[in-house]
Amino acid sequence: MSYVGSRVGRLEDPRLLTGTGHFADDEDRPGQLWMRVVRSPVAHATLGAVDISGALALDGVRAVLTGADVSLPPIPVRVSPDPGDLLGYLQPVLAQGRVRYVGEPVAVVVADDPYQAEDGADLVAIDYAELAPARDARTACGPGAPQLFHRLPNEVALVTASFGDAAAAFRDAAHVVELDVAIGRQTAVPIEPRSLLAEWDEARQSLDVWGATKVPHFNRRVIAGVLGIPPAQVRMHRCDAGGGFGVRGELYPEDILVAYLARLLGRPVKWTEDRAEHMVAVNHSRDQAHRIAGAFDSGGRLLAIRDEIWHDNGAYIRTHGLTVPELTVSMLPGPYRMTSFEATAHVAVTNKTPCGTYRAPGRYEGTFARERLLDTAASVLGIDPVELRRRNLLGPGELPHDRQLRALGTDVVLDEGDYPGLLERAVTESGYLSWAREARACRSAGRLVGTGLAVFLEKSGLGPYEVAEVQVDPAGRVQVTVGGTSLGQGIETVLAQIAADVLGVCPDSVSVIAGDTGMLGDGVGSWASRSTVVGGSAVLRAAEATGALARQAAAVLLGAGDAELRLAGGRVTLISAAQAGSQGQPGERAGPLAASVTLGEIAAALAGRPADGELPPGPLGARREFSVDHMTYPYGVHLAQVEIDRGTGAVRVLRYFVAYEVGRAINPATVDGQLVGGAIQGIGGALFEEVAYSPEGQPLTASLIDYLLPSAHEAPEVATLVTEDYPSGSNPLGAKGAGEGGITAAGAAVASAVGDALGTPSVPTRLPITPERVCQLIEASSGATGSA
């Protein structure tokens, strides 16, 4: 049977269900010290006198360091090979003379236990001469705004993307629809806070690190550079990770600090983040305002989209560089046909926590803006919203389609698919028309029920490459090592399925080691829904090469030609013997040669053996790299039915449906899990989640009491339709990636349904749609005479 395509039970589960997994904070080393980070309590200030004497005098405190005590390079940009003009905006590991957001690391205290370290941190006395903060992207780019950096404008960059002649399209359009929309500041909030442990070995001049994930090979290179040792002397150990969603595993100041301090102090140094610091320290995301316009002809055909975006990046440029605004503009046209397009993003620094990627970066925001535009246009033009989309989606005959845009250093070429076909199926299989009828009936009865939908385009499978190694030991066990990392997405199971099919073994006889730099010297990582697409393809190639080697050896061991052999069930068998066996006769052939040989026996025969003429050189295994030039573009539809409580303004999602074309689902159960979990996370972003700041730049949502995640109460049942009609041509698996499509259109679909419930298709225009904002909308729509 084929394991690829089956709902194979997850290999990760037994350890995770029994508390025997290894999360970073589970690791303790002998003689370990604990680090506590002293963080700025103010949004914008110059640093005055620092007094560390009180902290140093405290029992158990071993060291206190401020920015003046260290000379460390800033946090580099990972994504862009040439950060160029961004260099002046990079974050120092510890603040140098000035702080630019609440939560910025100013000093560290290292002590024998974490309680003492925290006591010590409380005693570090710092004078802050406060400055006015830059509060949001639009005002930060304007005249008279407080400047964050000497001789550098707050507007870091103007990111643009365009094709065709948008000005002409808008001039000649029969209808122009324009609106302002905004997506609030949000963050991923994995349930496991970050944790890092570093141990220096003076004799070997080497460092061991626990807690890295996502991009361990990149982080290793940076840390090795800081310490001035070869990357091979830094080992990032694999760990279980309690959710990634984009934020975990990027290189942060703390990654440098634990490594630096472990060597400086000659003892292992551990840091485990608490939730309050996580909320101000880890990357934020979203936080964009759009002025978006669409030009339509008299038949409701979209001619052009124009969008001016203000992207609030927080205080520094971190590892992602300009990734999020770049993806916002390049993915904004989505799955639609248009003759021209023009988008400009003002990327601004403000006195808030710096931003990076969060699941479906740029697409969650851009899909919201574009789909709100289409709902508004449908209302203005008097066309049904589904019909308007149907009319404007690129058809299967128009794909592949070169967008004439660039994203993440690649040309955006939309690969094969059937966008209108999936829309039809989603509408039919969800029962959307009956949802809408039901909603109308409810509204007639005075209830505020509505339906909405959004169509979206995703991207996945970013290159440049991934590395995988497959090895078989003499006991027949298969080990897969890969550069991607396990973030909870079930990647170990998926990669085991791929290897198991090729080698004809069970997935549970395959052990997968993901993201351990000690096991695999090179690799890229897990982000952008690339682990299955790129990592899985590397595993496929390595397993195929291993299988070929096994057959080559078996041909010698069995005295047969390759055409006479079959690799199945963990052994290479003579086809003649297998056929004899299937006819109910003894499978073993008489004579000196056996009828089959197991992978373990082959591994034993090849172990430690150089090429000796007959047998190929061992060991039994292979390492392969898989490279891709282009991304692949999965697509989908979200549909929602919601009810609004007229009294409180609370929105309840009654029904939710996600349709997604994934090319190939290696494990339908984990794909489904990604979509359902993503949808609920996206509904959180649609209705509840916002990182709020006071006018002084103080964070108002630094706990899970204030930053509201959906619980089982708020989570509707999510139905899914996963299609595999258009396997990707970019990789041998045909996979298109499944990690992000569950979240991408959630904000757009929920807003669409809320607008329908209120009878105001063009609002809401701002996420999250909090009860307070809904009450304002109800007031505005019911009392046209009111001042709201």
Partner: protein, 159 residues
């Protein structure tokens, strides 16, 4: 802050005697002093529930309890529910119904539901949703967790 107190605490049937500072949380005692690392800490302010353990049979947030408060009491953690080779019925239901992804919140849910099913062996779907809403999960969207608890209850895991 070194006025450690001696406590006696039974964890999963094994008695431990140790000296702890009064301010040390039960979660830290379990994880870092006694090596029961299956109990996880997600927020340290009682919201997420990842650190849920049973104290004398009742679910408690071990981040909101001090170790000294567990003196003389019996604590159950996820390590008591089964082993990788022999999962308990609730653990089996979680894997069967894809009730976990990253697995960080999972021990808290398992302990919460263990106590719930002992008390309410035949719950309604609404009762299940109510109790599952006590803890936070960021990966699954709760669907698999709700199904797993339903299946475990139907299979008599709580009886």
């Amino acid at each position: 802050m070194t006025d450690a107190q001696s406590i006696r605490i039974t964890v999963n049937g094994t008695e431990h005697e140790l000296a702890v500072e009064p301010r040390r949380t039960l979660a830290d005692v379990l994880r870092h002093d006694l090596a029961y690392t299956g109990t996880h800490v997600g927020c340290e302010h009682g919201i997420c529930g990842a650190c849920t353990v049973l104290v004398d049979g009742l679910p408690a947030r071990s981040c909101l309890m001090f170790g000294v408060q567990a003196d003389g009491r019996s604590v159950e953690t996820v390590e008591a529910l089964g082993t990788p080779d022999a999962l308990g019925p609730l653990q089996q239901a979680f894997t069967d119904h894809h009730g976990l992804q990253c697995g960080f919140c999972t021990p808290g849910f398992l302990m919460l539901v263990t106590a719930f099913l002992r008390e309410t062996p035949s719950p309604t779907d609404e009762e299940i949703r109510e109790v599952v809403a006590s803890n936070l999960c960021r990966c699954t969207g709760y669907q698999g967790i709700l199904r797993a608890v339903r299946a475990a209850a139907d299979a008599g895991a709580g009886s």
